[in-house]
Symmetry: D3
Subunit: 290 residues, 6 copies
């Protein structure tokens, strides 16, 4: 092999070389500056790409190969360190440009606050948008110790934008009492502790609606995702999370965009979290990009 | 904020500033000098406190908040390194003083031998005491290679003190043949491998009795608690252990004291074990201190 | 104790001092030079021995003690670094010498390619040999990017040698589409994702046949075995793998040899993978060497 | 020991129980939200305290004991995550209150930007303030990719406030060309690569002046301080840094306040960086608080 | 920023987007299959690239910026796992194509054996080639336990190709007695233990000759490079290695190509070794590509 | 290779298979139960043996090979966990038996208290014994918080046994004020901070005397030995420690026995400390066993 034929640059396995003919755009949102506990998710997207080389391109769950999905890995958005507002604006602009071209946005975080501008962009295009949210945490705070831009607030902001009745949370096992009460009083769905079973009951209600799916990796038990900012015991297994992705894939829901957030590699020397995240990304691409 | 209003010193979240009006006393027993395999649990209590900042104060399992439980974190007992006998004496004296004030003792280990002096103190106050013991190991040895003060012996000592018929072990998956035989011959209950289901059957028999609950974190599978001295495959999940705590909370048993032992942070770079332990401590406080 | 009575050298707990009266021979195959992702399994056998000191010699699952099984830990075969062909030849010769003496070979890897020469040796002695294979990966490639000697090929080679209808794979969740198709077209059994339930159905069909059992530690979920080369989310628990070993032990299958491969200690700072592997080795000895 | 005599809360060894009679106040500034590379220094102060238990209270370098210095560990300032401006305001207010009481402020970072509000507070009290700055990096940027509040800017801000001719940097081995040029053009002292020798030459010029000393732990070679955000090869040894602290202690300079920043524990599994930092804090207390 | 303007793929900082106008080509040789101790250097080049983001582009040592050197990062050569001969052939062909275009090859290993095909390619173009070799190990074996293709042999092969009198080794502190004797008997230069001082004496003798410089990162003391396969105490500091690179840069030697090998990230949780390697690569580019 | 020719058991490289013709006995003292800070040195000897495979058998410093020294690795003494007194008695008996056979004892710790019984045994045989002690810590306490058997006391005990004027400490940089004063008042030599230069001055005074050399690995700077219980910044380099060993080897001192203690592998993920210790053991064997 000659050097001038060499492949340069690390992307997710099986990414197309150009964006033009891609149906889906994979991108990173390397931001972690509002987290209240352990930072480090800014390095999540890069590590997920790096370890994707350990994956097969074929899914025996879905009997489909990555070459059947045309996607382009656009790299990480160069977000300004320590400036939440400007970071969110840049993400919204970035996703606007994806949607404008009619492509499927698949984001990798970064802290969960990055989902907020994505949802704003999605909602502009899809006024009947619903959100499926898998997470250990409610993320329904109005602010965190006075800060309205915090990783504890994105689902609250989203619920207030698109209507709480259009947000469906699963796997929740941590939050303030007030957050659970606000959800209840405002008609927002929260399934505590479990994901797969309640999801099976909700999915038919969302049939044919455009849905944005946001997955915080900490919905997994710490045993399955030690590499994240805020681990919380009592979560689901990676087997259950894979089954939940497949359940959505086989439903009549029309997934219009998605993200996977909060992978923080430094807390996981074995890199199992990044490896698991890369498999989840593969299954999301194979199952949801039609 | 002025410096002279600053909060000084690291305690478990939501600890009261003074012990006087506390119902429960949380304390550490930083001893690991008799362990036969990997030491390090002396640093368990300090790390559990440190990571408690990542917890919410509300439990969606029990619908109760830490501010509803008045507890005081009394710090670690300053045990003398390498002297088991004097360490055990200090622990007993410490717990005596808690019980004397009518408060609930909640201890954090340290190796499992620390439970022995606590049980002695409890038994002096509660002559009808029963013990619920969750562990991977029987801990029923008479001695360990000749040493009667060993982390392999506390349950044997306890059983001989309060009567083997008053000791109920759950989740056991490791021990010498002689230990299992001794339990059987002496009418001591051992549920091998499982915790939640057999516990549901035993709890009604203990209704209204004072019970001391001692949990060795290694009852969890190594996937859920890698940060402990002696990991042993085939354990229960953190979800099952949480459910077991809640099962006791909802039963008619009168929990009079408890401990959580054998967290050894150095073997768990992700700190999931300490984080899980801090959540277990929160649930024990919320569920058992009434 | 005098120094000239001292025990010298680290072996698996309860190994006999001499090979002559042993029924089973435990040995290491420290090779990892053809792996496509993360190397390091060459250090697996040594670490499994080292941590075996943390085990009890008694199994409460099988009610049997290691002193009831006469086995000898023969150490690691000194394989030549970077030379796959010569390594495989040395392994085959080594196992030939074990079988010649009528002893049970129990191997520890090393990468999965080491199973190939063992199976060749077994097949020479047992022409009606069947293979039970537990793994996350099919390992059915003809070659890996042109290399026929690769950790992705051993089961394909074995299937071609003894007939695909005599190979039974369990727990498979990763592979190329072509591999799954080849198995289907050639009558080879593959149970996707699950091990215990399908094993229960297959075992009666293998009654009284000599069987070689090869276990890739990555059949476990990464939560249960982070210390391996290629982790893949969605695997089974260590509880299920232990139950599968016991299921075989209680069946009418005649286990004639076995191995446990792909433990790579450097990716698991907690050493839970090596500890789990040492327990699995104990159960394989206690359950399969009769 | 009785529980109600127990010491509660983790502070730096030998801290006085009350602030009133203390000459010096030790405090943490747990902020890392503007760092451009690896975050995590928010956990520096807590870990430095925790490991201080491994220190002796006596310095054989200075022949002085911690009991000879009356200091109070005031804990960490509770800074708002992700809001740099408000964090800096809180730090300034906190240090104002220390100076108002006539006490010596000794801060622990956190990222280097935390030194900026401290210097502002110091300058209000000491109009003839000089700064001694030990660091691998110039920290002289006007902004970082547009952000004026960045960990790359504090020395620039300080130099513009108190005059570049009053700032003396040592050990610098990384920066933009423009930063070195700005320093040169504006009469600011930069000693590249070395600390001890150039410090010996500068100290007499600062005799009897009030000096604030700010030490970025990354002035040490990565071998001596792997646990920091931005490691940079070619630094000084801990022996040289200790000698530099002692050189200042023995000079006629009047140290009026100091800080040690950028300890990020998660990147240093051995905890040598936190241990080294705790020893540096001890020597700073013993050598500079007179 | 729009997604279709996004930068995709991870390269060394300041790499040009195209190879055509580059003077130097940076490339990775991700091979580690012949190492005799700890593997893992296959991941060295990728990690060096990833952490280069933490570097400044300016060198205060050489007063030069990366934008002054036109280089292109060509990525990693896709070498076949476990096949040393084919890997070496691919490397030689790759470097041939770089030299054919008149560009400077700067390689990143990978194990040290990768230098052998590079030197073959260099020698074809530069018949008067000399080699400067910095390493802890002689690497002068004829074979390693029978294998002529081993990471212990590249300098022997090189010496036999270009003549031992043209090879100059520095920093050597480990090898077999026979290796040191062979060097002595054949007129090959070996400076034991030290690099900088002996280099200063040798460089004038090499003035105006084309030189290939091969640096094994383990010439550094383990304190400065823990992340390598075979650490060996008593090495030089990163400060001395930087000074040695600068000494060559300022000499009359004509560096015609170079490599830096044996970075194995998994053994260095702090990533100091990869960070140091990325700084060394920057200095090699700035100092040697004229 | 046949299995019945296989080498079984892990020993230090080049150990003789039998003790009879050995001049020196290498042995482990796996005790860490009296340490006041971080335990884990019980695993030091086993890890030093394991990594010795990465060493060459030849020393270019001393131009001597391990095959020229006849030594036998006797394994670890099976010390009773948590019982300091009985452990010390076993060590003394073990070393008595070595000395009785006229062999050179070379011990590996374990915590430093293990040197105390060895010195007792040595003194019985050599009434004119002197001690060379390299350490970061004085180890001159009478007791540690009341415990006379503590890792802080062995040199005090030794000094009281053989006379303080026969004890020579080097590299000391940590201790209580009282310890330094006691040494001074009683004529015991302490070289603070440095080892090599003061050693050169002391060695002639010890010419022809039998000397026991005890090296605490923490005499090295934490950069060179992170894997130890109590790291303390400002230590010497491994290069200086090697030179000190060689200085003794070339002197007229008659080394009669030695040890290397306090290697605690779990704090050093890179294993550089164990690797360095194995090289030190090699140099001690080659330099001191004549």
């Amino acid at each position: 092999m000659r050097f001038d034929e060499a492949y340069s640059g690390k992307v997710f396995i099986a990414s197309r070389p150009d964006w033009e003919d891609a149906e889906a755009i994979l991108y990173g949102m390397p931001m972690d500056w509002t987290v209240s506990y352990r930072p480090g998710s800014r390095f999540g997207p890069a590590r997920i790409r790096e370890v994707s080389i350990g994956l097969e391109e074929y899914s025996p769950y879905l009997d489909r190969e990555l070459e059947d999905v045309r996607f382009f890995d656009a790299g990480d958005i160069p977000l300004p360190f320590g400036n939440p507002q400007r970071s969110l604006d840049m993400i919204e602009e970035f996703v606007d440009s994806i949607l404008e071209k009619g492509k499927f946005p698949l984001g990798m975080g970064g802290e969960h606050l990055v989902s907020w501008p994505v949802i704003k962009a999605m909602y502009k295009k899809y006024p009947d948008l619903a959100i499926i949210h898998m997470d250990a945490h409610t993320d329904l705070r109005v602010d965190y110790e006075g800060e309205p831009l915090s990783h504890s607030t994105p689902i609250r902001k989203a619920a207030e934008l698109i209507g709480p009745e259009n947000v469906f949370s699963f796997g929740i096992r941590s939050g303030m009492k007030e957050e659970f009460e606000w959800a209840k009083e405002n008609g927002m769905h929260i399934s505590k502790f479990e994901v797969l079973e309640p999801l099976r009951q909700i999915l038919p209600k969302l049939a044919r609606r455009p849905v944005y799916v946001t997955i915080d990796i900490d919905v997994l038990d710490p045993a399955h995702a030690p590499g994240t900012g805020t681990v919380d015991a009592g979560g689901i297994t990676s087997k259950e999370l894979l089954a939940s992705i497949h359940e959505i894939a086989r439903s009549d829901v029309k997934v219009a965009g998605a993200d996977l957030v909060e992978v923080a590699p430094v807390y996981d020397h074995s890199e199992q979290t990044a490896n698991t995240a890369s498999k989840l990304i593969r299954e999301m691409l194979l199952g949801w990009v039609k």
